[in-house]
């Protein structure tokens, strides 16, 4: 079953452990700007939304890449960049609608989420489980169950009353 990096902003506490862990794992340094995931915040309203590559089915980064350096990993289905082919034109950076592709300010190489080869570090560090690496069927099942919970409680009450 294909897994996705699922985000639940309602559970995010804004702690940025995901950014920090991502940067240390992938860049061997603590530099949130070099992380592949970023928590976007509206601090005055208490809204936190982690933003990361959605591993699109029709990746715009792939479409615009003149070097055909954007590929799909056969195991994880992550959209990955072949550094050997990349010429650093940054068209992918410009066209990604999620701001999910970055440029390392030191090496100038393109950085993007590769799902850590199937074991995303950000997920391991997310205590409130706002980030989950999960297949879509299970994810939808859980969401349906959570949404239907209130209805089920109402029904239970009705049945007991009757």
């Amino acid at each position: 079953m294909q897994k996705i990096l699922a985000i639940d902003p309602e559970k995010c506490t804004g702690c940025r452990l995901c950014e920090t862990a991502c940067s240390i794992h992938n860049e061997k340094t603590c530099a949130p700007e070099r992380a592949r995931i970023h928590v976007t915040k509206w601090e005055n309203e208490g809204i936190y939304i982690p933003m990361v590559c959605q591993q699109c089915d029709i990746p715009i980064c792939e479409t615009v890449c003149p070097m055909h350096a954007v590929k799909r990993d056969t195991d994880t289905q992550a959209v990955i960049i072949d550094e050997k082919l990349c010429v650093g034109c940054r068209l992918c950076v410009q066209f990604c609608p999620f701001g999910a592709i970055g440029v390392n300010d030191k090496t100038k190489t393109i950085t993007k989420c590769d799902l850590c080869g199937g074991e995303p570090v950000c997920v391991k560090f997310c205590q409130p489980e706002a980030l989950q690496y999960i297949d879509t069927i299970t994810l939808n099942q859980r969401k349906r169950r959570a949404a239907a919970k209130k209805f089920s409680e109402y029904l239970k009450k009705m049945l007991i009353t009757i």
Partner: protein
């Protein structure tokens, strides 16, 4: 690497900025954060410096481990000579500022002088700019941050700011960042105000390198698991520090009506579970897996709509039990007001509670309070007093000088009712049944304060062998006992000095959780992050050095053994209510003094609380400018 981190010296009078590397010696002796701040405070300030004068220095320091992905490593330490107490001024703040300061290229700032007009500092990738803040003067702490982000066109800027209380030199004005975080104690916001410094904004992309990044990452994961598996952290993740109320109010360890009662009767609405009515979720500081603060919304009532964060257990007492207000909503509104104006929640609540008792006793009257009836449980009077203090309006001006100034002005026996030590208000905790807590507030270098040493696990009745294992000596299980409690306080003082210096959260060490990261774990984190090998014994020595430097600073300012005491009421009035272990308890003066003697001995200080030459030598402090005569 840790060895290339910098400190910026900023003179606001001249506009001159210089930079220096934090030396290897200083790192090894003091780590960072509070440790380095205390060293600089002691060595760079002349004795008897005017806290509000241009010679006072405001130190801002990120911890040695600031930025690592565990244990809430975003703590920032702010220090100066305190305008509230005249002693060590030092306050620790969470949120996201400290890591951003490090990303901006600095670990420490030392700000001296006084700007001739309002300014703010913009610190970006190794550069410090002093910018005009005329348009920010008069703005509250939330709006100030919003405007800076807008002006600099960068939503990721993190700022330390003051509100109107800091501008008006309220002696317990705080420094704030984000919606929630405050460096509340000892009036660091007042020092910023005295320098015409409205804010310090940081933003940067300088990476933090570690000695062993992969191993560090793995160990940080273990640390997060270690703390989140404790009962304390689980409950705190759900309801924040307010969970302490469940135990303290049930037992009878909570100051009520200033100091008249030790439990709030009919205080059910203040139970932490009731925050669920207003909460839209919790929120965490940088690198924190516990996320103890609530994001709350008031949708109804005269103060709606209102979004705020917190409140802490402290505010439950400050605007609940101490002033006899029994509604959660009062706490949420008052918490928002003190945050907005930028004034310490605890000092403000403590002073208002004291004024209410004086009003009840007739020491204060309507004429003196500008006609405001300071009656127990009147939340509107509380809100109005908060405003009056922040703006130094009428009677607020009297309280804005803190206990010392207010006692001098009011006189008439008012001092007896003041629950303060060294000029600083105590927490809303009642320490009469708990000698360990009582000793801790008496000896704290920054005035009545629980965050220098509180051995909260003393309340758990832990077996003696476990206590011996933790504290390295005999400690009585019973929290009413005086036996071994000096050891507990001493040990916790050293541990918290280290926590504040590596920049992690006190709630994620031995505060309320026994099996939380401590010496061994800190030692390993430091080694993996920086390569520095420091044993438990060496870390304890560093803690001892930091605490002793604070002691030396206070001695130099004229504090002595007589200031390491408790308000008279602790010795005279027994607790009237509560469970048997908390009822009819007062502090025994003789036993307290014995505890104090033992405590000094553990630190290597003499009977007057003065560090012996042997201790100074051991800690490499014998060559420091002690200025002791």
């Amino acid at each position: 690497m840790v060895w290339n981190r910098k400190i910026a010296f900023i003179n606001l009078s001249t506009g001159k900025v210089s930079q220096k590397l934090v030396s290897k010696t200083m790192r090894t002796l003091y780590l960072g954060g509070r440790g380095l701040n205390m060293h600089m405070l002691y060595t760079l300030l002349k004795p008897k410096t005017d806290p509000l004068g241009h010679e006072n220095v405001l130190f801002v320091g990120a911890g040695l481990l600031g930025g690592i992905p565990c244990l809430g490593s975003g703590r920032c330490d702010i220090a100066a000579k305190s305008p509230l107490t005249g002693a060590v001024g030092d306050s620790n703040i969470g949120g996201f500022f400290a890591p951003e300061l490090r990303f901006a290229g600095f670990d420490h700032l030392a700000i001296t002088g006084k700007a001739d007009k309002p300014v703010y500092l913009l610190i970006k990738n190794g550069e410090v700019e002093i910018k005009d803040a005329s348009h920010l003067w008069g703005e509250d702490t939330f709006e100030t941050q919003t405007v800076i982000k807008r002006d600099e066109d960068d939503q990721n800027i993190k700022s330390l700011v003051i509100g109107v209380a800091g501008e008006n030199l309220v002696r317990f004005a705080n420094v704030r960042t984000g919606m929630k975080n405050s460096a509340g104690r000892t009036g660091m916001g007042c020092v910023m105000g005295s320098k015409n410094l409205k804010a310090i904004a940081a933003r940067g992309t300088v990476p933090l390198d570690f000695a062993y990044p992969d191993e560090l990452l793995e160990y940080c994961k273990q640390m997060n698991n270690m703390i989140t598996s404790t009962r304390w952290a689980k409950a705190q993740s759900r309801w924040g520090t307010m969970i302490i109320y469940s135990n303290t109010n049930t037992t009878g360890l909570i100051r009520t009506r200033n100091f008249q009662l030790n439990r709030l009767e009919e205080g059910e609405d203040l139970e932490p579970e009731n925050i669920d009515r207003y909460s839209i979720g919790t929120s965490g500081c940088y690198g924190c897996a516990v996320h103890c603060r609530h994001r709350y919304v008031l949708r109804e009532g005269p103060y709606a709509p209102l979004y705020g964060e917190g409140p802490e257990y402290t505010s439950l007492g400050a605007f609940g039990t101490m002033v006899d207000c029994k509604k959660m909503e009062t706490i949420l509104v008052a918490n928002h007001l003190v945050n907005k104006y930028g004034v310490d929640t605890l000092e403000t609540g403590g002073l208002i509670a004291w004024a209410m008792e004086l009003y009840e006793k007739g020491i204060l009257n309507d004429k003196m309070t500008d006609g405001l009836k300071l009656q127990w449980g009147d939340e509107e009077a509380v809100y109005e007093m908060i405003r009056k203090i922040a703006y130094r309006d009428g009677f607020g001006n009297t309280l804005a000088d803190g206990f010392r100034g207010a006692i001098a002005k009011i006189g008439n026996g008012s001092e007896y009712y003041a629950i303060q030590i060294k000029g600083m208000s105590n927490l809303h905790s009642d320490e009469r049944p708990t000698p360990s807590f009582a000793l801790g507030i008496a000896t704290s270098t920054r005035g009545a304060d629980h965050l220098r040493s509180r051995p909260a696990i003393d309340l758990y009745g832990l077996p003696e062998d476990l206590l011996k294992e933790i504290y390295g000596g005999s400690v009585a299980t019973d929290y009413n006992s005086y036996d071994g409690k000096s050891r507990m306080v001493w040990w916790q003082e050293l541990l918290y000095a280290i926590t504040d210096s590596i920049g992690t959260c006190k709630f994620q060490t031995v505060f309320c959780a026994v099996h939380a990261p401590k010496w061994k774990e800190f030692s390993k984190l430091i080694q993996l992050a920086t390569g520095m090998k420091l044993s438990k014994a060496q870390l304890m020595d560093i803690g001892e050095r930091i605490y002793t430097v604070e002691r030396l600073f206070n001695l130099r300012e004229g504090f002595s053994r007589k200031d390491d005491s408790l308000p008279e009421r602790y010795f005279k009035e027994p607790t009237p209510i509560g469970l048997p272990a908390a009822r009819n308890k007062k502090i025994d003066r003789k036993k307290f003094n014995k505890m104090l003697d033992e405590y000094y001995e553990l630190h290597g200080w003499d009977n007057n609380g003065i560090p012996t030459m042997e201790t100074l030598k051991k800690l490499h402090l014998d060559k420091e400018p002690s200025n002791l005569t």
